[in-house]
Amino acid sequence: MKLLYFAWVRQKVGRGEEILAPPANVRTVADLAHHLRLRGNGYAEAFSDMTRLRAAVNQRHATLDAAIGADDEIAFFPPVTGG
């Protein structure tokens, strides 16, 4: 599973991307966020309030209950501010 972080999420976790093999009970975006939050430090801070975060699965906007698998690309970021 490839993880990507953007904007202040990237700054808090201290990296822009990483490869992760999460435990089998991580089945949704919300499960993954919870799993990452338990790492503590910057992750705990970045994932402390999920209402401030958005996610994408394989480069499409996704909700917290979206299913994810080992081959997916999952991104976490704040609400977008382009344009």
Binding site: L4, F6, A7, W8, A56, Q59, R60, H61, A75, F77, P78, P79, V80, T81, G82, G83
Partner: protein, 146 residues
Amino acid sequence: MGTHIRVQAEDFEIADETAALAETGAGAIVTFTGRVRGQDGVSALVVEHYPGMTEREIARIAAEAEGRWPLLGITVIHRVGRLNAGEQIVLVAAAAAHRKSAFEACEFLMDYLKSEAPFWKQEERAGALVWVEAKPADDAALRRWR
């Protein structure tokens, strides 16, 4: 219909883009140009994006516009990186036979771009960078198209 999407650090020339759209035979071309406002002490913006997803999202938004209005062409250019006050950030242009479609499509594209395309901006004030917060007004703007 031709859709041209570019995410780039370089500046763009509005005249080149509208000339390209004019070749479709369009009677009406509407453009939106966004620039870095030099107000409130902002000296620059730093824009980052999600490569790959950005282009996909813009293509999806453009395809949706194409389904709603009889368009002859769409151009979306969004710059990334450090942009000083006064510089151009974004160009959205829509070409159609008649003005109403071109106006509506251009505004629709901007509203979607603002709320769905994965770009994030920091404002530079006195050398310090601060993330721009998403505006509720942008979500409200989006709801009118639903």
